[in-house]
């Protein structure tokens, strides 16, 4: 009832139509396909489901997927903030070029990125050779996965922060300077809180993308059981063995964890924002 009242009072026209479209769109593109995962797992029964998703290899893959995505997103947070800062605040030759470069991870087939990384960091690759002097191995290790995910998630952070930083009034920073704040104090106390919601959004997107990423990771990860197998790979390998139900089960758990994390982050953001608005 409350919903209908809200609708009647709304001054913006087209609520019914746009809401209907939104529901239809989300159903057709998101909810229906995803619900197939549920439906596929139902015939499995509780016991086999639990067995499938708690197999040690699967659990290890969850841990790996979430931890690497987390660290990659965290790193992207720093690197992306810095890049956005440079792109917004300074003028320099080649700025447009650099700006366009940021989007490249969006456009590039992720497998291409994976192959590039694998060649670069392999023991005979440019960087791999160099790093082997210090006995550092990137390929076939979680570090390699993080590097691939950093690459994939990077544009999300830059592109969410950029507009907010562009809109940030110069006057606010000038006010802080006049009041005696150093550059660092101004950044930490004024600018960072201002950018934080955007930063959080960007990091969340990068994180979510990182959990689901497949193409770029499998080439560099080496896919060693219990060590460098990511969750999407577990799903793929179950599919390869025609274990559709098992694949769905793994996917379902992945889906539930991802979704609740995104919900949680959204809630944090909402709560963060609430105070400053009248």
């Amino acid at each position: 009832m409350a919903l209908f009242q809200a609708k009647r009072r709304n001054i913006l026209p087209g609520f019914g139509l746009s809401m209907g479209y939104t529901v239809f769109y989300l159903s057709a593109i998101v909810i229906v396909p995803l619900s197939m995962i549920f439906i596929n797992t139902i015939p499995m029964g509780w016991e086999p489901f639990l067995n499938a998703v708690t197999a040690p290899r699967v659990l290890a893959s969850y841990r790996l997927s979430f931890s690497t995505a987390f660290f990659a997103a965290l790193f992207d947070g720093f690197a992306g903030l810095l890049t956005a800062w440079v792109l917004v605040r300074y003028r320099f030759p080649g700025k447009d070029f650099l700006d366009a470069l940021v989007d490249l991870p969006f456009a590039l087939p992720t497998a291409v990125a994976g192959i590039c990384f694998a060649t670069l960091y392999s023991p005979i690759g440019w960087l791999g050779q160099l790093l082997s002097h210090w006995n550092l191995q990137i390929i076939n290790s979680p570090t390699g996965i993080v590097i691939a995910l950093v690459f994939i998630g990077f544009p999300f952070v830059v592109r969410t922060i950029q507009p907010v930083l562009e809109e940030a009034e110069q006057e606010i920073e000038e006010a802080a300077h006049c009041l005696g704040a150093t550059r660092w104090q101004t950044f930490r106390k004024i600018l960072l809180p201002h950018l934080f919601p955007a930063l959080l959004t960007g990091v969340t997107l990068a994180f979510a993308r990182g959990i689901g990423e497949y193409g770029s990771v499998i080439f560099i990860a080496g896919n060693l059981p219990m060590k460098t197998e990511i969750a999407p790979l577990m799903i793929m390998s179950k599919l390869d063995q025609f274990d559709y139900a098992g694949a769905s089960a793994v996917a379902l758990v992945l889906l539930c964890i991802s979704f609740s994390m995104l919900l949680l982050l959204n809630a944090v953001q909402e709560w963060q924002q609430k105070e400053y608005r009248s």
Binding site: E169, I172, A175, L179, K189, I190, Y276, R277
Partner: protein, 357 residues
Amino acid sequence: MGIELQNINKKFGEYKAIDNLSLSIPSGDLIALLGPSGCGKTTLLRIIAGLELADSGKIILENKDTTNLPPRKKNVGFVFQHYALFRRLNVFENVAFGLKVLPFKERPPRIEIRDRVEHLLKLVQMDWALNRYPSQLSGGQRQRVALARALAVNPRVLLLDEPFSALDAKVRQELRRWLRKLHDEIHVTSIFVTHDQEEALELADKIVVINKGRIEQEGTPQEVYDHPANAFVYNFLGNVNVFHGRIKNGKVSLGDHDLDAPDELKYIEEKPSQTFVRPHEIGISRIRSNENDLVGIIHEVRLQGGQIGLNIECEGLDNPIEAEVPRELFVNLQLAKGVQVFVTINRVRVFAGDYEI
């Protein structure tokens, strides 16, 4: 001297924003920098604050050369046109900001900060809003918080950049009077920038009229208003009727009419002239009292609070005259649109030579 500026120059590309400007302001004065937009007044203020670097010249604040200090070391209070409050901090934190960013050794203890902030907020009548966020305050309230924030660091000088121009008329007037009162209490050397001559006349101890990066005139509001140094100042300070004509043989032409030229211009052979008449220096009557009176028809009547603005088309003048009469007179004379009146010009100011704004 509170503020001393020596030969300040500032160019933006080829454009001269500040042109060899020098200015001395005694400690404790409240000064208005008055000028049209783009005249360089805001640039000058930003140079004093260190937010802009002058190309050359010296800035001395309370006898300390601050020319090359960064803004944070100048100890200047700056109030921005659009408040520039920290959105994510509440009112208390906004005002306390300047104290909390002090190096550890100079930072007052928490309790002292609290006392000082509360005292300042009381001074600006915002002590009820300690925990509010800027978005929950009106424009006038925000500007008061911004002022308290600027005062928190005990600034050497206080600089206000069009502080009231974003507010509506009523609040603007209220804040103006309140700022004057506040300044009388705390006596910090202050400069405020404005393009509103009324604001400058009402508020300032001294007005500095600026045009094209140069000072046209400085003086008390009375001096500047009553004895404008040149045509620009006369024109800029308040509404005015301008008549373009010629000075010749001790006479100034005003359309088809001739007036006696002022003494200092008596002996000019022939030159173009501008004659200025303020709307309130024009007398209106229904009967001719003087043979020099102009005859005109009221073309337009405007209500301006206590005064009535009249637009009168006079015989022998190319442009209509703007006049102001008290409401009472307007009623007594039964003036209205289309009525014929006689216009006496009580006071004129004549400037010889061409002039442009």
